[in-house]
């Protein structure tokens, strides 16, 4: 009978399955397997993956490391709040701190170079969102996330916080510059 009644009193398991259902299940299963294997495939052949590299970190120690990094490589400051712009050596470890309600510091990177970006939070959870390319990562206090990142286009990028972090969340906006190595060589 219908779906709100018990099935036939005979052994309903033995009812033959229609061809339309079998064909569809086969198509759907193949697609599911393609999607499944596409993720490891991209790890091998794609260039956009996160390895999972991360370390437990004490937020205070992370802040101290960021401060050392900033004092060593600051090249100028911006805005009336004197926000430091940091130009680290190509290919080095670079630090980005999320805190209420700032991204610290502003990074200036060279196009085509690979950096080890180390990012964590000093307080609550934040979201690292690089615009307009729209790349997004979760930032947790107590965890230092390491992403090997290679900017492929020069320009000015925004660093938006996209994890809700309190009343001034909407003001948590940073900058990131990617410059052509030829420009100032």
């Amino acid at each position: 009978m219908t779906a709100i009644h018990p099935p036939s009193t005979r052994v309903w398991w033995k009812q033959p399955v229609d061809r339309v259902e079998l064909v569809w299940i086969a198509i759907a299963l193949v697609w599911c397997l393609i999607m499944f294997f596409f993720m490891p495939f991209w790890h091998v052949y794609g260039n956009q993956n996160y390895s999972g590299e991360a370390y437990r970190v004490n937020p205070d120690q992370f802040v101290a490391k960021v401060n050392d990094f900033v004092s060593e490589y600051t090249v100028r400051t911006e805005t009336d709040r004197n926000i430091p712009v940091v130009r680290p050596p190509a290919g080095s470890d670079i630090y980005l701190l999320a805190r209420l309600w700032q991204w610290h510091p502003v990074l200036e990177l060279e196009k085509g170079q690979t950096y080890r970006l180390r990012v964590s939070s000093a307080d609550w959870q934040h979201g690292l969102s690089i615009q307009p390319i729209n790349l997004n990562f979760q930032v947790l206090p107590g965890y230092e996330m390491v992403i090997n990142i290679t900017p492929t286009e020069s320009g000015e990028y925004a660093v938006v916080c996209n994890e809700y972090c309190g009343i001034m969340h909407h003001t948590m906006l940073g900058k990131l510059y990617v410059v052509d190595p030829a420009e100032d060589a």
Partner: protein, 571 residues
Amino acid sequence: MSFEINREFRTCPKSGLVFHRPAERLIKANAVVAVIFLAVGGALGLLVALTRWPAVQLLNAQHFYTVLTGHGVVLLLVWILFFEIALLYFCSSVLLRCRIATPRMGWLAFALMLIGAAITAIAILQGGSSVMMTSYVPMPAEPNFYLGLILFAVGALIGTFIFFGTLVIAKDEKTYEGSIPLVTFGALTAAIIAVFTIACGAIILIPTWLWSIGYISEIDPLMYRLIWWGLGHSSQQINVAAHVSVWYAIAAIVFGAKPMSEKVSRGAFFLYILFISIASAHHLLGDPGLSSEWKIFNTSYAMYLAVLASLVHGLTVPGSVEVAQRKKGHNKGLFEWLRKAPWGNPVFAGMFLSLVGFGFIGGISGVVMGAEQINFLIHNTIYVPGHFHGTVALGTTLAFMAMSLWLVPVLFQRELFLPRLAKWQPWLFGIGTALQAFFMMGAGTLGVSRRHWDIAFTGSAFEWAYPGMAYTMMALNGISAIMAVTGGMIFVVVIVGTVFFGKRAGEVSGWSLDRPDTLRGPAEALTGHGSIGVKGFPAPGTFVLAGFLMLIFVVYYFINYGYLASVWKFS
């Protein structure tokens, strides 16, 4: 101390369904409270959408985050779970013609859920718990925010066990013969997932509550996210199992449709039980420290076997409608069965819009953004609310609305209030919600954040402007929300009106102590579907529609990987 077991039943003259008196009261109470919370949550949702419309920006930042927290908690948890408890009682007691187990405990469950919801709602309204539904640590909420949720969950768990108890009684007292109906089987699936879900909620919210009152010094934020999403995501999987059951139920009620194959449909529900609860990983794809192997296995529900289940239901639900329509003589061509469907009946229209919207919008977007690498393009953007308005609002809520438009008149033995207005309801709500999902997904693709008061970043040290199209999309989302909320308001007016002012049904059934007849399945031959359809396919129209869905799915999946290949390299 002993209680007299109430054995009063009535048989609905129209539907033939058998209601146990205490069960009927419990279903009424849970369903009506659910609808009231839906009204509250919908109003909050309108305020959210009007604030995120940049030219309107109705609320200030503080009120916005408070209202957004309330909108999430009230709709994703309170409305849905109250309705699902009503649904569980319906699928056990009513569909099996069985007395409900421990009705007094049912009232305890109801009271706990109501008190819990009220405690959390008050904590949110007081303004000190604007932590969003997810309440990620270490951002603190008031202790009562967590306490209310814990009480609510305990109530829901009791309700779930009353469902299991009722199944046991039905078996024991032999109220039915053979197997339970497919819809009850689907409800059983939902209930099993609910136990896992509520356990996750307890495991994380109880320590978090203790942390908020100072008994625990620290909650690890990553562990919190992992276990909290065992509650947050799995609760939406309860919804999937529940609303798929509702689709089958409405197909049965409106068309007398029977499952194309009990084996296939039940097998698909069984896949949900096995694989759906590991989806907590969807939310952790952009998190530090979890291995790719873990992410790939879990985010794909173990090779997408739960997605396979949904794809199967996506064929078999409309397929069962097509077979029923073709057997009634609408057997011409591919789509006569669909053209001749009762589009003016809001029960059917709501169910069908829910089915199509869930598949094309909620389903495809959910699987695509749950791919490990694509998630980096989507994580925490407003694409995510776009997706889950496609699943929870358009899929689950609209299915539950359609079910209510049929169930409430049957329960209260009244006629539907303002039936001509009710006809518009699924269309306004369905299309409005679908457009909302679409525009939010569009804005998210352009980088707009979710849970963000001001995409112009007023007061920030730097400036950044999203593309003009993002602003347009957020405005269109606001307009679509007005349409959806209009549909939602009509629903609430029709339901509340039916309960209080609906015309008494012509034939009213009285309570009787006679034991209802045992429920028996038919002794029909186990054959295929005969000569209907085209070329041995009994549901060719559905197959073509499903193929269309698959085509969009595949194209959209690879478009996203294609865009991903163009952004910065990272490893």
